[in-house]
Symmetry: C2
Subunit: 386 residues, 2 copies
C-alpha cells in the first residue's frame, strides 16, 4: 500500500477485492442464493490475534470503497476517507479496517445487476428481498474468510447503524463494540412515506420497464433522479439549506415576478442527475425496502429492550441535532433500551446543522468522539492481550 | 338559499357564480390578460353599508367552493364547511362571505385550461406566471363588482395567508382585518426544494408533453400523483403520521422479511391517484411557482417591517405547533414584523399534531380563536355603524 498521502489520504492507492462465497445462503425471506460475491477493501494490518478488526457497514447508497484512492491520479477518495487512515479517528495504525458492498448493492457484489446462476440473464427486479439480517450474516462469512472471529468494532451510520445494531444482537460473541450513528431502531410512518415516494418515482418511470430496464437498453434516469432529490432534501436540515442556499437566485429577477430559478432548484436537479447515472434503480428499491423492514423488536412483542438483551457489546450511539430523518430522539430510544437492558452505552449528541448528512461529514466534535472511543477500545484490546 | 342543514352544513345548496372582468389586466410579470373570469360563491347577506364582507383566499389546491353543498344529494360539502355557516366561526348570520377560485386555477376561473382569446386553443403551459399580487388585484375587481369597498376581514391559510398579508399591504383602505393562518412571509430553501421536486415530478412525466397534455389527449397522472404524495407528507407531521399509521401493515408479514405493504404506503398512493384525476398539472406548477416567488420584503431591501408599514389593518396570525412546512417561527416572523411596524396583532399558537394540514381541520381551540376574533370585528363594525 502506498505510503504517500494523495489528496489528504494517508492510505494511498487501495485495491478492491472480491470474496466469493460458494455455498447456498438462505435469506430471511426464505429464498436461497446459490452463493454470493462481496466486493470489499481493507486498510491497515490485522494483528496476530486478529483482535484489531473494524467492520464498516454502509448506508443506502454506499459501497466498499470507504477510504484511499483507486489509482494515483484518482481525484475522488473513498466516501469516509476523512475518518479512516493513519492518525484519523478510525486509525489504520491501530486497526485493520474492512469495508464492503452489501448483497443487493450495485458496486460489484451480488445484486440485481448480477447474472442469475441458471444462465437466464440478469436478476434485475427478480432479486430477492434482502433484510439487514442477511447483510449481517453475509458479513460474518466475510469475517470468517478474513480470519476475524470477533470485531473490535462494527461501525455504521444510518442504514449502516442498523447493521451495527443487528451485529450486536445476532453475533454477541463476535462484536466487542458497536458504533451506531444517526440510526433508528425502526422507521416511522414518515420515514416509510418518503421511501415509498422515492420508490414510486422509480417504479412509475416508464423507463423502469418493471425493473427490466437493462434488458431494454434504457435506464429510469428520471425516476431515480427524483428519488435522489426527495432523499437528499430529507438528508439536509431546513436551517442548513437556509444558510447554504437561502433564496439565492440563479437566473431571473424576483421583483419582475416572472420565471426565476433559485440556486437550490439547480443544485437539487444536479444532484439527482448525477446520482441517476451512477446508481442502479433496482438496488435503490431493494435498499429502501430493507430500511422499511428493519424492526428487530417486532419478534419480541415490540420490546426493544428484550431484543437487545442478547447483545454483550459496548455501544457508542451518535446522533446529530438537526437530523430530522433519524432525529436525536430515535438514538435516545436505542440508548435508553440499551441502558434498560444493562449494556455499557454512551450517547453523543453532536451539534450540527447539516441534518442526517452530518454522519458523512468531517465535523470536529464528531470525529473527536469517534476517535476517543476507538482509542479506548484499542487500549482495552492491548491490555487484554498483555 | 336552502335553510335545512344537509350533512351538517347550515348553508344548504349554494350556487357558484361567474364574475367576468372584460378589461385588460396587466400581471406583475408584465404580460396582459385581455380580461379574466373568476368563479366565486357567497354565503350570508351583505348589509346595507357593505361593511360585513369577508374574503376567503384559497391555498394551493383550493377553489371557490368553500362551504355548503352543490346539490341536495351532494355528499361532499365545501372545503371549509366546518368554519363557515350559521353559528360557525365565520358566521353567516353576521357576515357576507366571498370565496373564489383564483386566476390560474383549474375550477372554472381563467387559467391554463381556458381558451386563449385569439382562438388559438387552450393556454396550457403558455399561461403567464401569476403572482400573489395578481390574485389580490383581481380579487379587488371582484370586490368592486360586489359593491364591497372594504372587507371586514380577509382570511386565508398557507398560500391563502400570503394573499391576506398582501391585501393588507396593497389595499390598506380596503381591509379592516387580515387573518393570516399557517403562512410565511416567504419560502425557505427547503420549501422551494419540495416545490421543485413536485414540479420536476410533473414536468418530467412523459405524459406532461411539455404542458400540452390536453392537446395530446393524455394526462400526467403519474407525475401529478407523485407531486401530491410529496406535498401531502410535508402537510402532515411525523408524530401525527406515527399516531395515525405507525408501522401498521396492510399486507404481508414483517417477520417473514419478505414484501410487506405498510398502511401509509397505500394511503399515500390513494391520495396521489385521487388528486391526479381532479387537478390540473399546469395549475399545480403555476401555484407552486407563485408560492416560491412571494417575497413582499424583497422590494424593501428584505425589510419586512418596511414592507408591512403600509398596512393599516388589524392582524390575527395563527400557527400550529407541529407544522414543519410553515412552522410557528415563520408566523412569529410575521407577527414580530407587524409589531415592530406598530400594527395591532395577535398571534395564536395552536397545539396540534396534524402539521400544516391543521389549518383545514376543525380543531376546537383554532375555531374558538377565529370565532372570538371575528365576533370582536363584528362588534366594532356594529359600534361604528351606530
Amino acid at each position: 500500500m502506498a505510503e504517500s498521502a494523495f489528496l489528504g489520504t494517508s492510505l494511498g492507492v487501495v485495491a478492491p477485492q472480491r470474496f466469493v462465497y460458494a455455498d447456498p445462503f438462505t435469506l430471511k425471506c426464505g429464498e436461497v442464493l446459490s452463493g454470493f460475491d462481496l466486493m470489499y477493501e481493507t486498510y491497515g494490518t490485522l494483528n496476530a490475534s486478529a483482535s484489531n478488526a473494524i467492520l464498516i457497514c454502509h448506508a443506502l447508497s454506499g459501497h466498499h470503497h470507504a477510504a484511499g484512492l483507486h489509482s494515483a491520479d484518482d481525484d475522488k477518495p473513498g466516501w469516509w476517507n476523512h475518518c479512516i487512515g493513519r492518525g484519523k479517528p478510525i486509525d489504520t495504525e491501530r486497526f485493520f479496517v474492512v469495508a464492503l458492498n452489501n448483497i443487493g448493492g450495485c458496486h460489484g457484489s451480488t445484486g440485481p445487476c448480477s447474472m442469475k446462476p441458471d444462465g437466464s440473464g440478469m436478476y434485475g427486479p427478480t432479486f430477492p428481498v434482502v433484510n439487514v439480517e442477511d447483510w449481517v450474516k453475509s458479513q460474518a462469512r466475510l469475517a470468517d474468510h478474513l480470519g476475524i472471529q470477533r470485531f473490535a468494532a462494527v461501525i455504521g451510520g444510518s442504514l449502516g447503524g442498523m447493521q451495527a445494531l443487528q451485529w450486536a444482537m445476532e453475533f454477541p460473541d463476535r462484536v466487542r463494540s458497536a458504533v451506531v450513528i444517526a440510526a433508528a431502531p425502526k422507521l416511522t410512518a414518515q420515514n416509510i412515506a418518503f421511501n415509498e415516494i422515492a420508490r414510486h418515482a422509480i417504479t412509475s418511470d416508464p423507463q423502469f420497464a418493471n425493473g427490466h430496464y437493462r434488458d431494454s437498453g434504457v435506464n429510469p434516469d428520471v425516476g431515480l433522479a427524483l428519488a435522489r432529490m426527495i432523499g437528499h432534501v430529507t438528508y439536509l436540515s431546513a436551517s442548513g439549506m437556509g444558510k447554504r442556499f437561502g433564496r439565492q437566485i440563479k437566473s431571473g429577477d424576483l421583483r419582475a415576478g416572472a420565471d426565476v430559478e433559485f440556486q437550490v432548484q439547480s443544485y437539487l436537479r444536479y444532484q439527482g442527475q448525477t446520482f441517476s447515472r451512477q446508481f442502479d434503480a433496482n438496488t435503490y428499491v431493494l435498499m429502501t425496502r430493507a430500511l422499511d423492514l428493519f424492526d428487530p423488536a417486532a419478534e419480541f412483542g415490540d420490546d426493544l429492550v428484550a431484543a437487545l438483551s442478547r447483545a454483550t457489546a459496548d455501544f457508542l450511539v451518535v446522533s446529530f441535532t438537526s437530523d430530522w430523518r433519524f432525529p436525536v430522539e430515535r438514538s435516545e430510544e436505542i440508548a435508553h433500551a440499551l441502558l434498560r437492558s444493562r449494556k455499557d452505552v454512551s450517547h453523543a449528541i453532536i451539534e450540527s446543522e447539516h441534518g442526517h448528512d452530518s454522519f458523512l461529514l468531517p465535523l470536529p466534535r464528531y470525529l473527536d468522539v469517534l476517535g476517543t472511543y476507538l482509542r479506548r477500545i484499542h487500549e482495552e484490546i492491548h491490555a487484554n492481550a498483555t
